[in-house]
Symmetry: C2
Subunit: 153 residues, 2 copies
Amino acid sequence: MYSIGEVSNMFQLSVPTLRYYDQQGLFPNLKRTKSGLRSFDSHDIESIRIIEYLKKAGMSLKDIRVFIDWCHAGDSTLIERRDMFLDRLDSVKAEIEELNRVQDLLTFKSWYYSQAVKEETEERIKEVKPEEMPADIRRAYENTHADLPCWKA
Amino acid sequence: MYSIGEVSNMFQLSVPTLRYYDQQGLFPNLKRTKSGLRSFDSHDIESIRIIEYLKKAGMSLKDIRVFIDWCHAGDSTLIERRDMFLDRLDSVKAEIEELNRVQDLLTFKSWYYSQAVKEETEERIKEVKPEEMPADIRRAYENTHADLPCWKA
DNA sequence: GTACAACCTAAAGCTGACTTGAGGTCAAGT
DNA sequence: ACTTGACCTCAAGTCAGCTTTAGGTTGTAC
């Protein structure tokens, strides 16, 4: 249905990247034209969509290949697949949690440097105490400047 | 104050990794004992804390080094530093957005495979329509199975 | 005084995910 | 017929971020 170039345009994936994925076994059912050109059908397209999600979920191409092989193997691998998704779900939830803390740090630092730029020096802002910060900035600050567990050891 | 081994334990960073960071210029003020051992003071520790955050914010060691050099250069680089943090903030917000969609996909897939495991086959669940899904699953499903812009082209 | 753990350097090696390069095929347009 | 552009393969190259290896020093504990 679609040539490799068309698919490359649909997703933000280069043509060599798609060939590389194929080589890594991510498209086990990919058809070819008589003359040997790759021909992606809607099932292949859907699998690229899922591959993109799994990559964002922190899986390596190798892990994704294992998953694809499980799918190919049929109902005997349902448990593995369920457990894989539950595991990824936990991990992504944790990552979102973590990024929220990162966001707080960046919010604080953006405020800090915006103040510093206004005053043309870091001098004064460096000494500001939590009580003197806007409420949201203070929240972000206290959320990311807490003592680490390791300090207590 | 702290040896490299102690610092390695505080953060989850191996001793060679800390030496590698030092080599990449991430600790420009790191002191040594008379016999040449690295000696991390509280300022160095704080900078590792920040480095960890910046890595999670998607910066490479090279980018982080540039930032550290800016800090060292003083007030003349305040604008660059502010802009860097504003830029990272945008990027992390976008990443959180994206991970929320990933989470929705994983939520749907976890439900799907949990059902399949219960029924010991994918047969029936494969045919389920959005209307028959629990509300939260349906939301997750519709949030991640929408047509991609590329389909419309 | 000697064993031992923890440190040091410099250089080479590794992994994942691509990218690049060289050399070739194929089908459509002029 | 011939040029062009999109495709093909296979092999080698790249990059980040570590890790490993080899060989050497230091300083406390027995």
